[in-house]
Symmetry: none
Subunit: 225 residues, 2 copies
DNA sequence: GGCGCCGTCCCCCTTTCGGGGGAGCCCATC
DNA sequence: GATGGGCTCCCCCGAAAGGGGGACGGCGCC
């Protein structure tokens, strides 16, 4: 392994920063090189540290994560390398996913995500993958309503959802219950429950309703289809 | 010309229905496939017949055209194709128009319109055009976010929801369970359940997840807030 | 070959939901 | 003053959901 991935953490809550740092530092290939307490500090820190990944909360005093993202994107020309931007959200209170993506974020992450998910996402973003939804993929996802081709791999990497899982999520977003999903997918109810369990875990949510909300908020599905 | 445009008529006055049916049936490319005598019948008929266009009066017994529209929009996910909704009205009363658009109607028609106008409008709506107001206005209409004032009457007429009910729906849309809603609204869990029961009935949906979907699809809430 | 992930299905268990009643209070409209 | 709706709460009950565990074949990767 050559160089570790350099990470800048921005969150107004020191406890959160510490927690994230603790989790991230357990990985050899990840290094937290700096922290910022609000959005306004982000740019100065980025210019100084030139991190690979900036991980920041949407809600921060003085300048929120969206503005800070826009500011970063606007100023990438002044940097040697443009950092990748990962937005942290709690999703219940702040659903700025759309705006964040529009501003130029490369991915977003629920604060409740499991450590392994967190780490995986950071690596993926650093590697250039747009985890959550690059504008293009988002449309693809919205468009491929009837992708019932069994052979088709279905690239959706929403939040690390497998293809089967995102299929189930589609059904959830249509308001179907486990039995209906099972019938339509030709599966046992137990299997559906199993998939849903994985979905809930990966999305970091508690129940199917929250999963559907997450699907809407992330752009996985959109009103009016 | 391949398939005719399938039309469902909803009006409490049989004479009006017959009149409309007579006019519409003169056209080869239009077919009246069913009728409903009030708003409550609309959804069941739509589910059964899956028409291309639903033409309904604003004023109907049991459930008016606005509510019926909202119910339809709320449930489009359960259909193969979402029907287009055309509202019939006697006057150009602004508030109806406003409410109907908010509920998700696609066009308007005055009952005193000439037959050719009538037919033209049906074709246009079926073709996906938003006759009366462009789709954009619909989004503008949906712009009533901050209804956090307890005293505020809250204009939301989404589906005939009372103010308390739409409050609860807001909570649902945030992924909260009954207990959490009860705590935050200072109510007993039973009361919350009672409200939710009413919400489900009025929206014509089965469970909270479908209610949340309805909220998104009707514009009651929107991604990114 | 082993490891890990995926996909399928099974068990048991508790909690949550939602439907069915009903009741009392307030306030409007008729 | 009756009727109706909204809001509050109560009961019981069955169904659905979700967490926990485990099992097994397949596939890809090292």
């Amino acid at each position: 392994m050559s160089e570790p991935i350099r990470i800048l953490l921005a969150d107004d809550e020191p406890l959160i920063r510490s927690g994230l740092a603790a989790i991230l530092s357990l990985e050899e290939d990840l290094a937290v090189v700096g922290e910022a307490g609000d959005g306004a500090e982000v740019w100065t820190q980025v210019r100084k540290l030139e991190p690979d990944v900036v991980m920041m909360d949407v809600r921060m005093p003085r300048m929120d994560g969206i503005e800070a993202t826009a500011q970063l994107v606007a100023n990438t020309g002044r940097l040697n390398r443009a950092p990748r931007i990962l937005i942290l959200t709690t999703f219940e209170s702040d659903d700025y996913v759309y705006d964040a993506l529009k501003a130029g974020a490369d991915g977003f992450l629920l604060k409740r995500a499991r450590p392994d998910e967190l780490v995986r996402t950071v690596r993926a973003v650093a590697a250039g993958e747009s985890i959550v939804f690059p504008a293009k993929l988002r449309e693809l996802v919205a468009d491929r309503q009837d992708s019932r081709q069994p052979g088709q791999p279905d690239l959706v990497a929403t939040a690390g959802l497998s293809s089967r899982e995102s299929e189930v999520l589609q059904h959830l977003a249509h308001g179907r219950n486990n039995q209906e999903i099972a019938q339509q997918m030709f599966l046992g109810v137990e299997t559906v429950k199993s998939h849903i369990g994985s979905i809930l875990a990966k999305l970091g949510v508690r129940d199917r309703t929250q999963a559907v909300i997450a699907a809407y908020e992330s752009g996985f599905i959109r009103p009016g289809k």
